[in-house]
């Protein structure tokens, strides 16, 4: 049970490879093949029924295949962004129109920061496939690649994924860097152990009237922290499955590996937290992503496939004049005022864009606002960091969570009750139909209609008893697993435990990754939904144009030159926050007066972000010169594209 998860699980693979030098290198040559061979040989056999991260070799094979499929169409360029702590390449895939890219704003898709999020890399690979094969065949794909590149990091944190292929299988989240979690001077000396010999690391429960845990009354397979106020009888102590390898009275407190990239980003970084590392951006993948974003202003938007999800729980600016829980003004920065502390919500100018784009992308994926149980709070995550600290439009999808069952007292009821059905367009109906295959339908749930918008504007997320009942998500997952993936939960069985010779000890619980693996029946439709969402997001990126350039003769040798700079895309050229950050770079408009002289106005003008939908701003100069002179205006922003036009003074 992970609500009140006792400690992290890990795996026994202690053979961390040495850190290899970083740098981006093409992987498609002999070196890449060698790396692949190494990974292939290193991968031990795995129980067929256990879901887990995609093998590294399979990921490489898929990328190669996508490149082959694109032959003659899109350019698929795979480079090494960095090396993980364990020496595994972290791959960056650039999909571009043939001939080396369009030079417009690009979109970055990041998956696999959290190694337990199996759906992320799967969706990222599906995306690469679709883009590679779709250029020249699919009009939407062709259109977005003609305007800008799509960058994909299919797996930001490969170490944990590679390690999770070993037996016993554990839900590992840490990279391969050894770490002294319990500050005893030893590294990685007490990880989990497979006590019942099933090849899996689950939980163990020890009969203990002071243990603090109880069996869930609704589903006795679950254990949850006991609440004496509810009359719970404390029966168990719960720990990850394993022995006290170092005899310090703590179990599995120093598992193999170091840092989880998914909690190593600097926004709301969980200092001193489990697997958080010693400081933000200490983890090589997290660091590499920071360097990538800091160094490439053309990346206009980031789409993160991971457990934080602002499609089903959109960010909103909140109501002006109010303070949020953190005490920060929700209308901080309004009217250009100084912002005193890091924001907990988007700026008022950015909030509506996050809400509207979330609605559109959500519709594309087929997710609904009821799918909020799997959403992990922000903190050290790449999604919120990409916006709040790197100034990008940032959206994230969890892809999937075990659906609720119909008629359940806690889920279906409140969600359906009084919930406003979402404004479903034709696209969404399509996605919904796909998603209906996903299992919710089999369970007889009209899940698609269960969306609730009552949290709108308040950011409160789903309402009702679920918020106060930490076991709800697990109950939901367990019911779904029992119906669809019976081996996803290991029933409790008694084992003899050397550390507890006089107590009853049972091993059981969720099988590693069982709750995170996409259901086979719905897999394709879920991945197609994510691909549609990414294509939609790319189509919404800003597009800068010079919508008009004219020169009015004032009298004889003086002209007023007026350029109309417009954004034909949907999203503003940058979030308002980016202008406050000073990054990415904004719009720069420059007049080249040819042989004439600028009599009024600055030669270069920097503009605040332009809203989308054809919004325009005019820039004016007075130019003094000879009739017949050609003056040229160039307008550009890395994240919105550039344009130039000429006009003759006459």
């Amino acid at each position: 049970m992970h609500a009140g998860k006792p400690q992290s699980a890990g795996d026994p693979d202690r053979g961390a490879a040495l850190r290899a030098p970083g740098g981006r290198r093409p992987l498609r040559g002999a070196a890449g093949r060698l790396a692949l061979l190494f990974v292939l040989l290193g991968a031990p056999p795995l129980a067929a029924q256990v879901p887990g991260p995609l093998p590294e070799a399979e990921l490489v094979r898929r990328l190669d295949a996508a490149g082959d499929a694109a032959a003659g169409g899109a350019a698929v360029d795979v480079t090494e962004l960095a090396r993980s702590a364990g020496g595994v390449p972290i791959r960056l895939v650039r999909v571009a129109a043939p001939g080396g890219g369009a030079g417009g704003p690009s979109l970055l898709v990041v998956a696999g920061a959290d190694a337990t999020h199996l759906a992320g890399p799967a969706a990222a690979l599906a995306l690469v496939d679709s883009l590679a094969a779709g250029y020249g065949r699919d009009s939407a794909v062709t259109a977005i690649l003609d305007r800008g590149d799509v960058l994909v990091i299919p797996r930001l944190a490969p170490d944990a994924a590679v390690a999770a292929r070993a037996r016993p299988v554990a839900e590992r989240i840490r990279d391969a860097a050894p770490y002294d979690d319990d500050r005893d001077g030893l590294v990685d000396e007490d990880g989990p152990d497979d006590l019942n010999g099933d090849g899996l690391v689950t939980l163990m429960r020890i009969a203990d009237p002071a243990g603090g845990w109880t069996e869930d009354e609704e589903d006795p397979g679950l254990v949850r922290p006991a609440d004496p106020a509810r009359g719970d009888r404390v029966a168990w102590r719960v720990l990850p499955e394993g022995r006290d390898d170092d005899g310090d009275g703590r179990w599995n407190e120093d598992p193999p590996g170091g840092v989880d990239a998914a909690r190593n980003f600097p926004r709301a970084y969980p200092w001193f937290g489990e697997a958080a590392g010693d400081h933000p951006l200490a983890e090589p993948g997290a660091r590499a992503l920071a360097e990538l974003l800091a160094g490439d202003d053309a990346i206009a938007a980031v789409y993160v496939l991971g457990p934080q999800d602002n499609l089903v729980r959109p960010w909103s600016a909140g109501k002006p004049g109010r303070k949020d829980e953190a005490g920060a003004g929700v209308d901080a920065g309004a009217g250009g005022e100084r912002i005193e502390e890091p924001l907990a919500r988007p700026l008022a100018d950015d909030g509506p864009w996050f809400e509207e784009v979330a609605r559109r992308l959500r519709d594309r994926t087929g997710r609904t606002r009821a799918d909020t149980l799997a959403v992990r709070p922000e903190g050290g995550d790449p999604l919120s960091w990409a916006h709040y600290q790197m100034g990008r439009w940032a959206f994230g999808s969890a892809v999937w969570e075990p659906p609720a069952l119909a008629g359940g007292a806690e889920e279906g009821g409140e969600d359906g009750e009084g919930a406003a059905a979402e404004d479903a367009g034709a696209d969404r109906a399509d996605a919904g139909a796909d998603r209906a295959d996903a299992g919710a339908d089999e369970a007889g749930a009209g899940r698609e209609d269960a969306g609730t918008d009552e949290a709108e504007g308040d950011g409160a997320g789903a309402s009702g008893p679920r918020r106060s009942d930490p076991a709800a998500a697990e109950r939901r997952a367990l019911r779904w697993l029992r119906a669809h993936r019976p081996d996803g939960f290991v029933d409790w069985t008694e084992v003899r435990h050397p550390d507890f010779p006089d107590r009853r000890v049972e091993v059981g619980g969720f099988a590693p990754f069982a709750r995170h693996a996409l259901p086979e029946a719905a897999r394709d439709s879920l991945l197609r939904g994510e691909v549609r969402a990414v294509i939609e997001l790319a189509s919404l990126l800003p597009r800068l144009e010079i919508a008009g350039l004219r020169a009015e003769s004032l009298d004889g040798g003086a002209w007023r030159v007026t350029a109309r700079i417009a954004n034909r895309g949907f999203l503003p050229t940058l979030p308002a926050l980016a202008a406050r950050l000073g990054r990415p770079r904004g719009i720069r408009v420059e007049l080249d007066p040819g042989g004439a002289r600028i009599g009024g106005g600055r030669r270069t003008v920097l503009l605040e972000p332009l809203p989308g939908g054809g919004s325009a701003r005019e820039v004016t100069w007075i130019v003094v010169g000879e009739r017949g002179t050609r003056v040229r205006v160039e307008a550009g922003s890395p994240a919105a594209g550039s344009a130039r036009q000429e006009v003759e003074l006459r």
């Binding site: 310090d248 502390e341 890091p342 709040y388 926050l577 000073g582 990054r583 600055r602």
Partner: protein, 612 residues
């Protein structure tokens, strides 16, 4: 810690004037660096290591040694100038050669332009493992223009080496403590400040190129030294409608015309023109970020904190210090020098953070003594008494590593006339001191130049070595007093000791061994921040010499209240030994002894005692 393979540059005076260390983005220099070359040549005369002499005699013979100075130092250093990067490395190497048992020179990493970040490890290398002794970190110059921290850090290393034989207190300090001294943690910025034309305030940044004006170009419009004197001073233009006039007290100084009084001058800012033709002057200088806002603790993005840069530890110099400190859990105290203003600063830098109460008491005890050692300095906390800073260095040292850290803002106008200056325009006292004690050397007289945009103008004003950096004849005193404060702090780093081992016979052939522990210094072996967040290991007390039956922490030694540690009783863990405090542990052991007890404290050191 001593990085092998670090090679030192040849003495600066042997190299062609103007030669630079190899580095990325080296640019041709605009003028030879006269000051630095002169300094290095002075040092070159002492290259030979004299034979060790246990008792130093004054030189020349017959002189009477002044106190507080080594009378015949093995390494001669003139403490009245500001040294370039090569010379700092050279001084480090000379100290290592002259005092191989006290000083080792190495590097903690390389700067953006490829300069070594010199580290002097100063301790008694014959006594104990340097990386397990309680250690004091000292650095300077994180802000490129705040140069004298480097000299003060170097002076500290030099003084410790040269005086340990004369002063038992210092010899004990080196026996018990390690000093990690990095004179400059912004070597590129320092080199820019020294070698390029600059103001007293530029650059604060390092030199990693940044696009300050958002035009897509990097560092394309910096200062221009219009009169070619190596200083960036003010520009003024004669204008009957201007609002500035020459001061009646000192005609070199411009003051605002009084209301109703006609003016004579426009003030046009620091020397420079519009290099990139965008209508703005000096708006994209080398750098620009604030290296002291780039640290992970309380880091905030640029919409909150100017100069934060894109993400915490984005700068290679920040990263090098972070990595070194993480790898040295024995660092228990730190000083990071800045200028100016005469302040002994502690955190936190922001209202939303706090220093734990027990740690504040230690800070107060140290800081208040600092005010006595450093007349004219005030001991204050940053956000409360100065201003808000997100992501500063000392907050990371304390917040993330539990290290009690001060930042001294070196130099205060108090020192001009050893009195609080009257409440008057700040620069009048600068100019008066220049007239009376520097005889006009500190101010560039107004000189006519032709400005490409403004036409005929004049440039003149304060040289970059003035107002923040310290005049040479006062630098040594400033160095000594600030060093004295850091040595006071170093003395009061934790010192974990086993005071006694008591062995008592119990029935059944068992024995009871009690170890009484102490820390007779102000700093606890682990700060309250360490204990609250599990930073670094707990203090551990191990026993050897018998089979341990049970082990206890004596929570109340007076009344013998013992709390058992059930697991691994042979290695008892205690949270800490408080400052000026005690702790005790006990075992029941089968065995006749003798027993050896080892106390291991990451920040308090290692101590071993054997029972009789």
């Amino acid at each position: 810690m001593n990085t092998p393979g670090v090679s030192f540059a040849r003495p600066a005076c042997l190299r062609r004037p103007g030669a630079r260390l190899p580095g990325r983005h080296s640019r041709p220099r605009s003028r030879p660096r006269r000051i630095a070359v002169a300094a290095a040549c002075l040092l070159a005369g002492t290259a030979a290591v004299p034979a060790p002499a246990p008792a130093q005699e004054p030189s020349p013979p017959g002189a009477l040694a002044a106190l507080g100075s080594p009378p015949d130092p093995r390494v001669e250093v003139a403490w009245d100038r500001y040294y370039d990067h090569a010379t700092i490395g050279e001084i480090a190497r000379r100290l290592e050669r002259a005092w191989p048992d006290r000083c080792r020179a190495s590097s903690i990493g390389r700067s953006y332009e490829g300069r070594e970040m010199w580290l002097l490890t100063v301790t008694d290398f014959r006594s104990g493992d340097p990386d397990r002794k309680p250690a004091m970190w000292i650095d300077g110059n994180i802000h490129a223009n705040e140069v004298q921290g480097s000299e003060i850090a170097l002076y500290t290393a030099w003084y410790l080496c040269e005086m340990a034989d004369r002063v038992p207190w210092i010899s004990e300090l080196l026996r018990d403590r390690t000093f990690y001294i990095v004179p400059t943690i912004n070597p590129d910025g320092r080199e820019n400040f020294l070698q390029e034309p600059n103001t007293p305030h530029s650059p604060r940044s390092g030199v990693v190129p940044r696009d300050d004006d958002g035009d897509g170009r990097l560092d394309e419009d910096g200062f221009n030294d219009l009169d070619g004197d190596g200083h960036i001073t003010q520009m003024r233009r004669r204008d009957p409608n201007g609002r500035w006039v020459a001061s009646p007290e000192d005609p070199r100084l411009l003051v605002r015309a009084r209301p109703g009084e006609p003016g004579a001058w426009d003030v046009l800012g620091f020397e420079g023109f519009d290099d990139d033709g965008d209508g703005r002057v000096n708006e994209d200088r080398p750098g620009y970020y604030d290296p002291n806002r780039n640290w992970p603790w309380n880091w905030a993005p640029a919409y909150v904190q100017f100069g934060a840069d894109a993400y915490p530890t984005s700068l290679p110099e920040t990263r090098a210090v972070v990595d070194f400190v993480l790898a040295h859990p024995n660092i228990a105290g730190a000083q990071t020098y800045h200028n100016a203003g005469g302040m002994i600063l502690r955190g936190p830098g922001i209202r939303q953070d706090s220093v734990r109460a027990a740690d504040v008491r230690v800070y107060d005890a140290l800081g208040e003594r600092g005010e006595e050692i450093l007349p004219g300095y005030r001991y204050i906390s940053i956000w409360k008494d100065l201003y808000t800073t997100w992501g500063n260095q000392l907050d990371w040292f304390y917040g993330a590593r539990g290290i009690l850290t001060f930042s001294n803002e070196l130099w205060t106008s108090f020192h001009y006339f050893r009195a609080e200056p009257e409440r008057e325009r700040w620069d009048r006292v600068d100019y008066r001191f220049d007239r009376l004690l520097l005889f006009g050397e500190a101010i560039v007289p107004w000189t006519s130049v032709d400005h490409p945009q403004y036409g005929p103008i004049e440039v003149g004003g304060v040289k970059r070595q003035y107002t923040r950096a310290i005049p040479g004849f006062l630098l040594r005193e400033e160095a000594h007093r600030n060093m004295a404060f850091t040595l006071w702090q170093a003395h009061h780093l934790p010192l974990a000791r086993i005071d006694s081992l008591e062995v008592r016979d119990l029935p059944g052939g068992l024995r009871e061994v009690t170890a009484r522990l102490s820390n007779r210094r102000l700093t606890p072996t682990r700060t309250a921040q360490d204990v609250a967040h599990g930073i670094g290991p707990a203090d551990r007390v191990r026993i050897e010499g018998g089979r341990v039956v049970a082990g206890f922490v004596l929570e109340d030694p007076l009344n013998g209240i013992a709390v058992e540690q059930e697991h691994q009783p042979e290695r008892i863990e205690i949270d800490r030994i408080p400052g000026m405090g005690t702790a005790a542990v006990r075992w029941i052991v089968r065995g006749s002894g003798p027993f050896t007890v080892t106390l291991e404290s990451a920040k308090g050191g290692v101590h071993v005692k054997r029972s009789d």
